[in-house]
């Protein structure tokens, strides 16, 4: 599928002397916008009331978006690698913005299916393309610090929710002065329609800015003082290239798929229930020692650790290696989960510290995976491989809540649960982390038979990205 010339990769090859520090803000301009996907709880109650519907029916909007994220990242990954970041960011901006506008129309006309189609399907495609759009470009601009580079971008996805939550409350307050953002007040449906319209237009401008400042490095570019031969000296880091079509035939891809699935499922176990969980853990005699406002503070703190973990842990992986950092995420995470299940209810501060570190590992797992893929498969089609791997996220997005909600439903009624009711779910997560830990231990360098012939240059590879699929 050809793209208009102003979007083409050839038009955005950086001239000598280009400052690579312009690329992270371009990536952040996209990820800060699509990170809004994690802030949907702000208007959830308003939509339930407006459509006279249920939390489940409204929750489906978010579920469709996440499934579409995984599918579109997998399907369009090769297209993104071939056409470059500007075409990808431009397309993501159009889909993400259109999703909000169609969703706004659906809310204004009280057609819930239009919100499913708009925010869920159309917006979800924008999410998937936008999520992977800057990743391989950043890795190519920062061959000396790929973990730092991808950490910066994917931190933006966590940061997007931090911006969208308070901004949405403020905008809905402007459109519906009766809503002041406090517990017990619900914004009107028309204020949510106005919010969607506003966000759609603001995100369009913001993401287009990223699309128009992004550049790709020339094929022979390297940072000053960087010696590519030093890269090969590190264990598990290749200077070879593996195509996306071949990558999914390797055990390494599926081991990393398992690692990501287990890490994300375990993290979602806490994130999904955070507010209720802290109150339930400290409930005695039907009353919780933790107030609702304090529980809200806990959710905010987890958001900060989710975002911070993406940057800090991913950057750390540049020094201790990708396999090493995942041993920390999964191994230390496993121990922390056991502590949470056994002694987590002994003190609020202990519960908060354990949960915060676990969530920082959850964020770190997302941010480090592109650099791990680059180490194993090279930079050749790392965006497309990353896109295919994100199906693990979509699967975890279904499995995590199913496990936790299923266990809690079998243990008792919401509002009466206590710490012990969470133990079966937490120990399931411990088992998942153990599986992920073993999968990570089994990761070895990719066999030479999957490497592209050396005659393949980046230019010819882009012209025919799937040429080696017959192998």
């Amino acid at each position: 599928m050809a793209v208009p010339s102003f979007l083409a990769r050839e038009r955005i090859i950086a001239k000598p002397g280009f400052n690579r520090w312009l690329i992270p803000p371009a990536a952040l301009a996209v990820h800060l916008c699509i990170g809004q996907a994690y802030a949907t709880s702000v208007y959830k109650a308003a939509l339930v009331s407006h459509f006279d519907s249920t939390l489940t029916a409204i929750g489906v909007i978010f579920s469709i978006a996440i499934v579409m994220l995984g599918l579109s990242a997998a399907v369009f990954g090769t297209w993104v690698d071939r056409n470059g970041p500007r075409a990808a960011m431009f397309t993501a901006a159009c889909f993400w913005s259109a999703g909000f506008l169609v969703g706004s129309l659906g809310i204004a006309t009280e057609q819930l299916w239009l919100v499913y189609l708009g925010y869920g399907v159309i917006g979800g495609i924008g999410l998937g393309i936008g999520y992977i759009s800057p990743v391989s470009t950043l890795i190519k601009w920062f061959p000396d610090r790929p973990g730092l580079a991808t950490g910066m971008a994917i931190m933006g996805f966590g940061g997007g929710a931090l911006i969208a939550s308070p901004l949405s409350r403020q905008l809905m307050n402007w459109y519906d002065p009766a809503y002041d953002g406090t517990a017990g007040t619900t914004p009107s449906g028309s204020s949510v329609a106005g919010l969607f319209l506003t966000l759609g237009l603001v995100y369009l401008v913001f993401m287009m800015f990223g699309a128009f400042i992004v550049r790709v490095p020339a094929d022979d570019w390297k940072p000053a003082g960087f010696d590519p031969s030093t890269v090969k000296q590190k264990a598990l880091v290749t200077t070879e290239s593996v195509s996306a079509a071949n990558a999914i035939k390797t055990p390494q891809f599926w081991l990393l798929w398992t690692v990501l699935f287990c890490n994300v499922t375990a993290g979602i176990g806490i994130l999904e229930q955070a507010s209720g969980m802290i109150q339930d853990f400290f409930r005695e005699g039907g009353t919780s020692a933790v107030a609702a406002a304090t529980a809200g503070g806990f959710v905010g703190l987890l958001s900060l650790f989710n975002m911070g973990g993406r940057f800090v842990w991913s950057s750390t992986s540049d020094f201790i290696g990708r396999k090493g950092i995942y041993m920390v995420y999964l191994g230390v995470g496993l121990v922390l989960y056991v502590l949470l299940a056994t002694i987590g209810s002994s003190a609020v501060w202990l519960f908060v510290v354990l949960a915060a570190i676990i969530i920082s590992f959850y964020g770190g797992g997302f941010a480090t995976i592109p650099a791990y893929l680059r180490d194993l498969f090279g930079t050749y089609q790392v965006g497309a491989i990353h896109g295919r791997l994100l199906t693990a996220w979509a699967a975890a997005g279904i499995a995590g809540p199913l496990i936790v909600n299923g266990v809690l439903d079998s243990q008792g009624t919401v509002g009466e649960l206590v710490a012990a009711d969470y133990r079966p779910a937490l120990f399931i997560m411990v088992g998942l982390l153990a599986i992920g830990f073993v999968a990570n231990l089994l990761v070895k360098p990719v066999a030479a038979k999957w490497h592209e012939p050396h005659a393949t240059t980046p230019a010819t590879a882009r012209a025919n990205p799937e040429r080696s699929t017959a192998r």
Partner: protein, 41 residues
């Protein structure tokens, strides 16, 4: 080809970072405010 003297205007780099940094700072401040209720509430 390695990095030579920068031809990218410093002002553009600063503007781009400000454009993403300011909203992020706003979000961080608002979230820290919310999170502080964990220690005061």
């Amino acid at each position: 080809m390695s990095e030579s003297k920068s031809t990218t205007p410093t002002g553009l780099v600063a503007f781009a970072w400000a454009l993403v940094g300011l909203p992020l700072a706003y979000g961080l401040v608002q979230t820290v405010r919310t999170a502080s209720s964990l220690f005061t509430g």
